[in-house]
């Protein structure tokens, strides 16, 4: 196991990339060189051995020649002297000659020498020995003269010459071989030396390269290790920072997995919910979201949401973020914590693995909002009540109910009344703004015809215009042009715009009103809007005033410094109202006398029965769902009727039981209703079958007919099939 680990460690530490390639190349080259050198050296050794061998053969040949000479010398000495010592020497020399010939036989490798010359030589030597033996025998037995005669025949000398010449031929042959082998040895040695030099140089180069790339690799590795450790350090710092943020942030945080189980929380979460970390981890966040929430439109009503976690978890499936300001989380001991939360999906490698939910305990804010709302309600009531009285009293005084008043007093009363009206408007505006700000201004949306809305507004504002001596010009408005709006609120917007136009117009100037259809692209979709324009011929709006025109408490300075009697809230309210209708508001203005301004707003055109199709589709779906139950009912009625008929037949009674008859009538009514509604839902096939069923039930009511009953059953079966097939 340990060695396996070590091997793994070694492999892991091997250089990578170019360094590895160089290393492998060097390794292969060095191996090749080693094998090559080994083989070349073997060749040199082989060639050397062959040279040595040839030398040994040559030496044997020389030894053989001298042994033959020695043998002849000893023979000659014995013949001349007759001394036995020479005979003994002869015997020794003879054996020596034989020994050298054996040596030659064993050492000679050359085929020609071995197969032709050596047997010849052996034969010659044996013949020579025989001759010498013969002469020696003659000397010994017959004396010197007889031996001399034999010698004079010169047979031995000829044999010796033949032996010598054979040995000389062999020597020549071996000398040639020696020369050839020397040459081969020299060549092999040269090749080996050259190869060693070249391969050595190559190996050295590769070793250098390998060293260089390994060095590079080591440097790179060291650098990457340094970087890794730097990243690790940065990561540690970043983690520490994140931990510190999570620990110190006032907002609570839940991290949940894809199933909704809590996998991480921060300390603020513990503080807000009252749960400890160990109590929360692993729990499903769905169980910690309360199903009751404060209804936004009504201040004190509470609504029950059957699926309160829907929005929070939608981000896991659909992406994006989800924000809620009116939900409650469940704290420890079942306590409800009102929270403002944002849920965002958590991704890893592009795949959503859960979500992060940050939330803020808004108990304090809710209480503050409640107190502010109470304050507004109190203030508006407390201010409006006395103002109404003051306004009423002033009205009565102006109307002469308090007796005759001097003209100056009447003027003062008029001023007081006007200011009183302004104050009432201001309070109403402030309350509107307040409602808009807290999102509690509810719109009662209905189809509104623009020509009527404009006419109603103009009617209301005519007295004011008459007083300012401003005239209206009402351009043609298509009576079919309608918007989906809260009529009163749009009249309020128009009132503000027309009121402003009147205020900024001089005597005898004209305020022009128009409404028309415009096409505009919204989110890539072409949609139709109704554009309402209020054009005046006033002084226009200065460039530097334009940006803040729709801000709260903004009043445009008029060139004549005439007080305009507005609250400075009208345009802000109008903007908020139009935007709440999902519309746009704006203006175009030309500065200078008679330039004038055109204030406009756009609301989406009311399309006839836009939602009706969707609603009908929903009803049709519900109808389809309930259809099997109805079919079951009809079948039941039919069975009941059949049984009753049979019973009547058995008892020989006329007609069917009362109950069965009334059931049949009921079934007919049901079929009648279903055929009517199915058709209206667009389920024509169901409608037709139902109609046929109705007719057959009617026929049965007249008289029992088993064929009609079976046809009816077929109709009902067909209906089931249609239901299964889908509509």
């Amino acid at each position: 196991m340990g060695s396996f680990q070590g091997l793994r460690e070694f492999v892991r530490n091997l250089p990578k990339g170019k360094a590895l390639i160089t290393f492998i190349a060097t390794f292969i080259v060095v191996c090749t060189i080693s094998i090559l050198c080994y083989r070349l050296t073997l060749e040199v050794i082989d060639a050397g051995q062959w040279v040595g061998h040839t030398h040994r053969v040559l030496s044997e040949i020389h030894e053989s020649i001298s042994a033959v000479r020695e043998m002849e010398g000893a023979q000659r000495g014995y013949i001349i002297t007759g001394v036995d010592e020479f005979a003994h020497s002869y015997e020794l020399a003879k054996e020596k000659v034989r020994m050298h010939i054996r040596n030659l036989k064993s050492s000679v490798m050359d085929v020609t020498v071995k197969e032709q010359q050596l047997p010849e030589l052996e034969r010659l030597i044996e013949a020579r020995i025989d001759r010498a033996q013969e002469v020696l025998e003659t000397r010994k037995d017959d004396g010197f003269s007889a031996a001399e005669k034999q010698i004079a025949q010169n047979i031995g000398a000829r044999m010796t010459n033949e032996i010598k010449s054979t040995l000389d031929r062999m020597e020549d042959h071996e000398t040639e071989l020696l020369a050839a082998r020397y040459e081969k040895l020299t060549q092999s040695t040269e090749v080996t030396i050259s190869a060693l030099a070249i391969l050595g140089a190559l190996a050295t180069t590769l070793l250098c390269l390998s060293f260089y790339s390994t060095n590079l690799y080591i440097m790179e590795r060291r650098r990457s290790e340094e970087e890794t450790s730097r990243y690790a350090a940065e990561l540690a710092i970043s983690k520490a920072r994140l931990d510190a943020i999570l620990a110190s942030m006032g907002d609570g945080l839940y991290q949940i997995d894809i199933q909704g189980r809590i996998v991480f929380i921060n300390p603020a979460c513990e503080a807000i919910t009252g749960y400890s970390q160990s109590e929360l981890l692993g729990r499903n966040l769905r169980d910690l979201i309360a199903d009751r929430r404060q209804e936004e439109t009504g201040s004190h009503s509470v609504i029950i949401d059957p699926n309160p976690s829907r929005g929070l978890f939608s981000v896991i499936e659909n992406g994006g973020t989800f924000e809620s300001i009116d939900q409650n989380f469940i704290g420890k001991d079942g306590r409800l914590v009102p929270v403002h939360y944002v849920s965002s999906p958590l991704e890893r490698d592009g795949v959503v693995v859960g979500a992060v939910v940050t939330f803020r305990d808004v108990t304090m804010r809710k209480e503050a909002e409640k107190r502010v709302a109470e304050f507004y309600s109190t203030v508006s009531h407390e201010l409006r009540s006395p103002l109404t009285s003051i306004r009423g009293a002033l009205g009565l005084m102006e109307g002469g109910r308090a007796g005759e008043m001097p003209a100056r007093a009447m003027r003062l009363v008029g001023i007081a009344k006007e200011e009183c009206d302004r104050l009432i408007r201001l309070i109403n505006d402030i309350l509107d703004i307040r409602k808009i700000e807290v999102g509690k201004l509810s719109l009662f949306l209905k189809k509104g015809k623009l020509d009527e809305i404009i006419a109603a507004t103009v009617d209301g504002i005519k007295p004011m215009a008459a007083e300012a001596r401003v005239k209206f010009k009402l351009n043609y408005v298509d009576p079919e042009l309608s918007v989906f709006c809260d009529r009163d609120r749009i009249i309020q917007v128009l009132n503000n715009l027309i009121g402003n136009a009147v205020k900024f117009s001089s005597e005898d100037q004209i305020v022009t009103l128009s409404a028309s259809e415009v096409q505009r692209e919204v989110e890539g979709e072409k949609r139709t809007f109704a554009r309402v324009e209020v054009k005046d011929c006033g002084p226009g709006i200065a460039e530097d005033e334009r940006d803040k025109l729709f801000n709260l408490f903004q009043q445009v300075d008029s060139s004549d410094s005439r007080p305009k009697g507005g609250t400075g809230l009208g345009l802000a309210i109008s903007k908020a109202l139009v935007e709440q209708h999902n519309g746009r508001i704006g203006f175009d203005s030309i500065v200078g006398e008679g330039g004038g301004s055109t204030f406009w707003f756009e609301l989406e055109v009311y399309e006839l029965k836009k939602d009706l199709k969707e609603k009908v589709a929903k009803l049709a779906a519900r109808f389809t769902e309930e259809l099997p139950e109805r079919i079951e009912y009809l079948l039941d009625c039919l069975k009941n009727y059949e049984t009753s008929c049979e019973e009547s037949r058995e008892k020989n009674l006329d007609g069917v039981g009362e109950l069965a008859a009334s059931k049949l009538a009921e079934a007919r009514t049901v079929a009648h209703k279903l055929s009517g509604s199915a058709g209206s839902y667009g389920l024509a096939e169901v409608g037709n079958i139902m109609l046929s069923i109705e007719k057959k039930l009617e026929a049965l009511m007249e008289a029992f007919d088993p064929r009609v009953v079976s046809e009816l059953k077929r109709d009902l079966e067909q209906l089931v099939l249609v239901g299964k097939k889908g509509f």
Partner: protein
Amino acid sequence: MSLSRILLVDDDDNIRTIAELSLEDDFQVDIASSGQEAIDIAMVRPPDLILLDVMMPGLDGKATFGKFKEIPSLAAIPVVFMTAKVLTHEIDFYLELGAAGVISKPFDPMTLAEEVQTIWAHSRV
């Protein structure tokens, strides 16, 4: 005078729902699920037009129509029958009876309002 308030009389929930949806954008719609209920509602809030289903349990369409004609304050209100039987002679029968018109069932929810409006306009001529 324009057509603004309609009394819809039908005992079937589905028909009532879909007819109300079809009409509510254009008119104020009162709903009754039986002939008697229709008479009670009409007495309190007389409609401009009555849309009356023919086939209803208890007081059916024809009987309800008769009752309306008997009550002087309601007798002049135009009544439109809704029925699945749309044979010509049946339409004639209802018209002869004094109906302002007959709407066949199933009706098209997209055009019901216009259909009613047209019948109303004819009845005013």
